[in-house]
């Protein structure tokens, strides 16, 4: 069904963003309330149309720009898009409300509100995009918004570097994604996601295209080996991190993988890449999270781990794992956003996020509740949504049937669950417990009590995580209808709070016990751990520096700054290319077929012209050179005349006369002595190069004069000249009549050149006057002092 509503909503986001960004000085406190409006509108609309969409009638919107090039803005809202839209607008609204309290009266609030709104619109476009190129555009828009938001604190070098790193990694990944999508589009002839999946192309290029797509999705969703930008992105304000870097943007890669997996998961490299990168991210993120002292960084590494889990689930592409992936995605968005907002509230209240220094958070009951509920969901403790979805994930993986990749995924997820429990417990204890180790603990009692806008949003999200678990059956059914949009077979899925003693429950229990044990065993070492820079970060930084210094070195060598050298290189290339062609293929130059000379007189005139031409070089004085040039020009007029071109001869003669006059006028006031500039190359090199260029041009001309295959248009012009244009001089008729349009262009060039001369000279004279004024010489009174120019 067609509807323009999606486009209107995106437009509303864009308008709000522009209003916030442009009017940021006047908007002030109104900016965040204003920014909630598009979120609320979208959320409401999605609830209204949700029923129809889930029944299997996707909504589409299309704006064609350049049809033949497939440049069409095409959106399609199916069940999955509905879910993501609800998450984006719902969490977006909560984050915006939270921001009211978080940013208070800070100057940059309107800018952040605008950028967040811009991002939200782009993100919605991304998840609703059906056109492959539409997807790419919104994909890159989110990268740019993320860059600007990470760099909010633009006076901090760390924030700037982190923003740039995130932009470069996700931007480069975006290009990889584009290459992959274009290859898929060309191979299948389908330029929409829905069409592509239906076509299920199997060309030889498809595996390569999919690898490119997976590289793109891995960068965006912070998967190994590109995960390193995400912790750096924590330089952004906490609401931004909560929204972009845990709940929405980092899901973009997962969204694309989820859409493609049902069709492409069985293609060669897909599952191995997904599983290897995903499991590596799960383990790496989990281990690194244990070593962070900053609560936000610990959460960020945890996000890498959780994203790995979702990536593995949706990437494996079986109906059961796809269903579980969608479910975990929802649970993760809820508990991770709750976590981030809670940490933001803690930070805002106490002024620190250091796990070693925090005290007294548990005495703020609403905040403590949020943290505990979010932690329970993250650690998959019953009866939270985190638990029931993790159960679904383990069950789907236990199902097996997809070879070694499934086994590796299962083992990775099991170990990952243990790690998740361990770092969650550590985080919860760190935030809620009273610090005993730090010398300078920070207590909440010392600070203001957080207001409702800071406490409400995380609590809502945390409670949703709890409620979703308690209402596992209806939630599971809704999720099944949503997952059916990806793979109809996933519509069978269900969530259970309790479905008997089975291996999945066993693994969950093992994770809880093992994780808690692990936390207890390592609680002292991790309290003092100093997280090292990750190998990926180091590798990235080295690569970046090498690229910069390498390009600088290449530029330094090739762009030495000497303009004659540049020109020499260009000319040498021309001479070499022409010369090589003529030398290799002797047939190109058939001198024997051409006359030596058309007449004896021609030889005499040509020799004289050439001699006066050489005279230009030999002349020691500039006037001598100008006159030698004039002489060769006059003689050239004779060459033209011998060729049968009296018009040219006349014009050449007249032009040469005027040119000499112009030379005399200008050269008269150029320097008396030349400043001695170092030559860029020895004399013989310059002579050799010049002769080589001359010979290659002559060789080219000789070749070209023998290659005419079609008769000249001249015959027709000559025939039509008198009857149609009323003139007998064919050359003149061509200029003013047959090719009059060309001439109109040429005289325009003349007019511009004339105007240019007038203005340049006028400007030069103004300059001179100014100098005189500065010297104390009056303009009008030139007596007594010679102008500067004559010294």
């Amino acid at each position: 069904m067609r509807t323009p509503t999606m486009l209107l909503l995106l437009l509303a986001y864009a308008t709000t963003a522009v209003v916030c960004l442009v009017g940021h000085r006047r908007l002030g406190a109104a900016s965040f309330p204003l920014a909630t409006l598009p979120h609320l509108a979208t959320f409401t609309w999605l609830l209204v149309v949700g029923g129809d969409v889930l029944d299997g009638t996707p909504l589409v919107a299309e704006v064609t720009w350049v049809g033949p090039l497939e440049l069409t803005l095409s959106l399609r809202l199916d069940g999955f898009g509905l879910l993501l839209g609800l998450l984006i607008s719902g969490i977006g609204a909560l984050v915006t409300v939270f921001s009211v309290g978080y940013f208070g009266a800070r100057d940059e609030r309107a800018r952040i509100a605008g950028l967040l709104t811009l991002f939200a619109g782009a993100m919605l476009g991304l998840v609703w995009a059906d056109g492959l190129l539409t997807l790419f555009i919104f994909w890159e828009l989110t990268s740019i918004a993320s860059f600007l938001l990470i760099g909010t604190d633009d006076r901090s070098a760390t924030a700037r570097a982190a923003a740039l790193r995130a932009l470069l990694v996700t931007g480069a990944g975006g290009l990889s994604l584009l290459a992959g999508l274009v290859l898929l589009g060309i191979d299948s002839g389908e330029w929409t996601l829905s069409g592509l999946i239906a076509a299920d192309p199997a060309g030889g290029v498809v595996p390569a295209a999919l690898v490119l797509v997976l590289v793109g999705t891995a960068t965006k969703s912070a998967q190994f080996p590109f995960q390193f930008w995400l912790p750096g992105a924590m330089a952004a304000p906490t609401p931004v991190s909560a929204y972009l870097h845990s709940a929405t943007m980092v899901k973009a890669g997962i969204v694309v993988v989820a859409r493609l997996a049902p069709a492409f998961a069985s293609v060669g490299p897909w599952r191995p890449i997904i599983v290897v990168c995903g499991v590596a991210s799960i383990l790496l993120g989990g281990v690194r999270s244990m070593r962070q002292q900053d609560a936000k960084l610990a959460l960020a590494h945890g996000t890498v781990s959780q994203l790995g889990l979702i990536m593995v689930l949706v990437g494996l592409g079986t109906p059961a794992t796809t269903y579980a992936g969608v479910a975990v995605l929802v649970a993760h968005a809820l508990f991770k956003a709750a976590w981030f907002l809670s940490v933001g509230a803690v930070d805002h209240t106490t002024g620190t996020r250091d796990l070693r220094r925090l005290r007294g958070v548990r005495r703020v009951p609403l905040l403590a509740t949020s943290v505990m509920l979010a932690a329970a969901s993250m650690a998959a403790i019953p009866p939270t949504l985190g638990f029931v979805t993790k159960e679904a994930a383990l069950e789907a993986l236990l199902e097996g049937g997809i070879g070694w990749t499934g086994t590796v995924a299962l083992i990775g997820v099991a170990i990952g669950s243990i790690l998740t429990v361990a770092y969650t417990v550590r985080l919860a204890v760190g935030v809620l417990g009273d610090s005993t180790t730090a010398d300078d603990p920070v207590d909440t009692d010392d600070q203001h009590h957080p207001g409702p806008t800071l406490l409400g949003p995380p609590l809502v999200l945390a409670l949703l995580g709890l409620g979703g678990g308690l209402a596992a059956a209806p939630v599971g059914e809704a999720l099944a209808r949503i997952a059916a949009a990806l793979d109809p077979a996933s519509g069978e899925g269900a969530l259970y709070l309790w479905h008997g003693l089975n291996p999945a429950l066993g693994l969950s229990a093992l994770a809880l016990v093992g994780g808690t044990t692990l936390w207890w065993a390592t609680r002292r070492t991790t309290a003092t751990a100093d997280a090292p820079r990750s190998a990926s970060t180091v590798a990235y930084d080295r690569l970046y520096e090498t690229l910069l210094s390498g390009s600088r070195r290449v530029t330094g060598v090739t762009q030495s700054g000497s303009l004659p050298l540049y020109l020499g290189i260009v000319l040498l290339s021309v001479a070499t290319a022409t010369g090589a062609a003529l030398a290799v293929d002797r047939g190109l130059l058939d001198v024997g077929a051409l006359p030596v000379a058309n007449s004896p007189l021609e030889v005499a005139v040509c020799v004289a012209t050439a001699l006066s031409g050489i005279g230009v070089v030999l002349a020691r004085q500039r006037f001598g050179a100008a006159i030698a040039l004039g002489a060769s020009g006059y003689l050239l007029a004779l060459v033209f005349l011998l060729q049968g071109a009296p018009d040219l001869a006349i014009t050449q003669f007249l032009v040469e006369t005027v040119t000499i006059a112009v030379y005399v006028l200008v050269l008269a006031r150029l320097p008396q002595r030349f400043s001695a500039a170092p030559a860029w190359a020895p004399l013989w090199v310059r002579i050799a190069l010049s002769v080589a260029v001359g010979l290659s041009v002559a060789g080219f001309a000789l070749h070209a004069s023998g290659t005419r295959q079609e008769p000249s248009v001249a015959a027709e012009y000559i025939e039509r000249s008198e009857p149609e244009a009323g003139g007998r001089n064919v050359v003149n008729v061509i200029i003013v009549d047959f090719r009059g349009f060309d001439t109109l262009g040429e005289i325009t060039v003349l007019a511009i050149a004339g105007a240019g001369v007038v203005n340049l000279v006028a400007a030069a004279r103004r300059e001179q006057r100014r100098k005189h004024l500065e010297d104390g010489t009056d303009v009008e009174d030139l007596s007594g002092r010679a102008p500067e120019v004559w010294r």
């Binding site: 006028l665 008269a668 006031r669 001695a676 349009f741 005289i747 007038v758 010679a786 102008p787």
Partner: protein, 171 residues
């Protein structure tokens, strides 16, 4: 050193050139119009006017160029305008851009005269080329004049300490 053209104007030469100027202008116009049937045309005609200006400059100095009856920049505009109008005019009567037309008129006592619309175009070229060359010469000559006024009244500070040498150390 090249002799500076403005320093010693010869009265005889000056009078000769001044007397020849109208003749040369007529020649230029003639060359322009005969271009349709014989070597010549607007470009050549305009350049001839340019040479007339060079001659006037050589004999009378920059003063001669400063007292031109028409501003050269105006000539450029008029010439370009005429050419464009020749292009547009056929559009008004339903033709195509720059379409040309030939009219044969009986003019007593000259006899039959052939009038070609593209002659107007060529006339535009003539005026424009005249304007461009004149503009270049006037601009450069005025600058030269200003500089030379400085030189001739330059007392002892100017380049009078020995003839300036043009050592060709240019590389």
């Amino acid at each position: 050193m090249t002799p500076r053209p403005t320093v010693t104007p010869s009265t005889i030469l000056s009078l000769t050139v001044a007397g020849l100027t109208p003749v040369l202008v007529l020649v230029a116009v003639y060359i322009t119009f005969r271009g349709h049937n014989a070597p010549g045309g607007g470009f050549a005609g305009g350049l001839i006017i340019g040479i007339v200006l060079v001659l006037r400059y050589l004999t009378d100095g920059a003063e001669a160029l400063r007292r031109l009856p028409v501003d050269p920049v105006v000539l450029i505009g008029v010439g370009l305008g005429a050419a464009v109008l020749t292009g547009i005019a056929p559009l008004l009567v339903g033709g195509s851009f720059l379409e040309s037309n030939v009219w044969k008129l009986d003019l007593w006592p000259v006899g039959q005269v052939k009038v070609v619309s593209s002659a107007v175009f060529d006339l535009g070229v003539f005026i424009l080329v005249t304007g461009v060359v004149a503009a270049i010469l006037v601009a450069l000559a005025e600058a030269d004049d200003e500089a030379s006024r400085g030189e001739t009244t330059g007392g002892t500070e100017g380049p009078t300490d020995g003839p300036p040498t043009r050592t060709g150390v240019d590389r």
